[in-house]
Amino acid sequence: MIAAGLTLLGMFALAAAMPRHAPALLGAWERRVPSARLRIAGWALLLAALAATLAATDWPLALVTWGGVLPFSAALVLFGLAYDVRLARGAALLGALAILAGLLR
Amino acid sequence: MGAHLRRGWGYRANIATRAVAGSLGAYLVAACFAAAAARTLPLPRLDAIVPATMLAFLVAPVATIWAFLAPGPLRALGGVLAAAALLAGIAWAAGMPAA
């Protein structure tokens, strides 16, 4: 679950780093956070998600699970961007909550 | 890719030759690669078959792509046949591995 949350956040960060989508996703925050840092953060979160799955189970299964969760996090952010930006921002929130829930267990 | 030959016979021949090179030809290259790799890889007789076959499945689309990116249709066909012949030669020269 932690991995899922991390990938969600990671995808969000990556998307936010793109000049095309930043205005929609970040709103007023856009000027505060430079996009390069967001991009690095995005990739770092995705790698952290991989580390989380590796910690949870043996490496083949971890790779498969990580690879499987990635498309869905991306898809969630994608749909948010296409249809309703609040959905994409909600995805980021969901990601954070998932990480928290996973840690608390 | 010869836009000025859009619907002429030159265009069709170009595409047809590349298509043959990219389909039958590419498979031939992959098959010869599989044979050559199986015989020359420094692995036991059975083990070598695995990487040879796996790589052959990657060689096939690469050969197809090359057939359509080659400078001309004859170059495409020639190149593919040459690669297949070379690989077949390597396989033949290596000979079947001993039991």
């Binding site: 095309r20 | 044979a35 199986a38 692995l43 990487p51 499945f57």
Partner: protein
Amino acid sequence: MSAVRDGARQAMAWLHGWTGLLLGWVLFVMCLGGTLSVFKPEIGRWMRPETIATADRATALTAATSWLTKNAPNSFGWYLTLPNDRMNTVEATYDPGTGFVYRALDPVSGAPAPRETLGGEFFYRLHFELQLPFPWGRLLASLAAMVLLLGLITGIIAHRRIFKDFFTFRPAKGQRSWLDGHNAVGVLALPFHLMISFTGLLTLATLNMPWAISANYGKDMAAMFQAFQPGQIDRPAMGKPAPLAPLAPMLAEAERRLGKPVGRVTIAHPGDAAAVVTMFRDDARQIAYAAGAVSFDGTTGRVLADFTENRPALQTYGVAYGLHLARFAPLATRWLYFLCGAMLTLAVASGMVLWVVKRRERAPLSLGNRIVERLNAGVLAGVPIGCVAFLLANRLLPLGMADRAGAEVSVALWSAAAALALGAVLAPKRSWPLLLTLLALGCAAAALPGGAFADSVQASVSLTLLAAAFAFGWLGFRQWRPRPAPTRRRTREQLA
């Protein structure tokens, strides 16, 4: 320099489109069949609602072999899959005298389930044999898989801004939206698509790329198979009848030696003095397929061979094979496979639609493209209709019917054919909504009849069907409302 690269990208886009068009419908059937096969055991249970008994592996094995000894004594071999937590029956392939059949055997009585059906096996076979005779179905599937791999690679090369466009999706803009959608389902799950197409090719490699094997072994295939799976002993029948020794002790011994539960059991020449019982590790316990086997002499129970795969190259092959079959996957991962498979199926389908939409927005369609447009409706909606008809037939055909399993398959094929005919005859703007609505009704009808929610497996399948019904219904409903034709646009901007 970038002009050369652009030329290469255009060439790859051209190749991607044409190879996709040639085999797209075959790929659609394969991807749909494969996606449904992820839940093969669950669908099988849904299709045999009367068979709810469970038993441990030893009991089930003994019951099955007792029944088979009485009813298929002269079969060349019995090929069994023992029950596990996903499948409560023994899946058996055997020859009762009239050719090989596939049945699910009750784990307590050993007799075939009263509802004779192929179950999820239908989708599995559709996936790699396309309902065609051996070897043509598998050869066509192999060809389509090679085209899929080629399509993925050419698609990646042709997609100019693969990372920048990663989060792009502009709905309701005609061709632009279809392209965005096609790219989205293709790129988002790209690692899965590459993995599944490559591993799929590998599973059929003995048929479509056997040259490494023949280069190293020539005609001595027996030596190859023996080296490949030393735990499995193959020997010809002796012609002398002799009863099989009890199998439960053999099972216990095999599990002790392998250290893991047994999944598949093969009994070669049952009832003959040269019978061999081979037991394989359960595929659900590790990613690799057929990771270990133990063989016993059939009449005495003496161990003939015992092998657990430890050679790196062959372990790699086993893992690749296992990655494709996904039998190792726990429930959540199985759903991921299912959803990624659905995305691949949608990628193929959206590609076929995109072909037509792109040309339709440029100019009135040529005859060839109009045929493609109609076949699109017939195949992309018709094949799912066939699948749903299969499920409906399972619910509606009488239990005692002769060759019931074959009849279910016939219903599926004829329904798909009828849908194809409708797609050919009706104008696309009528056939699409009609076929989608029929599909939605079919899904709902299959989900609802009695016993649909009896246990969790039944409920999951039925709920999935209902969800599908809603999705297709919504899609179909949107198509009923007439939409204004998109204005013809300049071609330059449209080519991505």
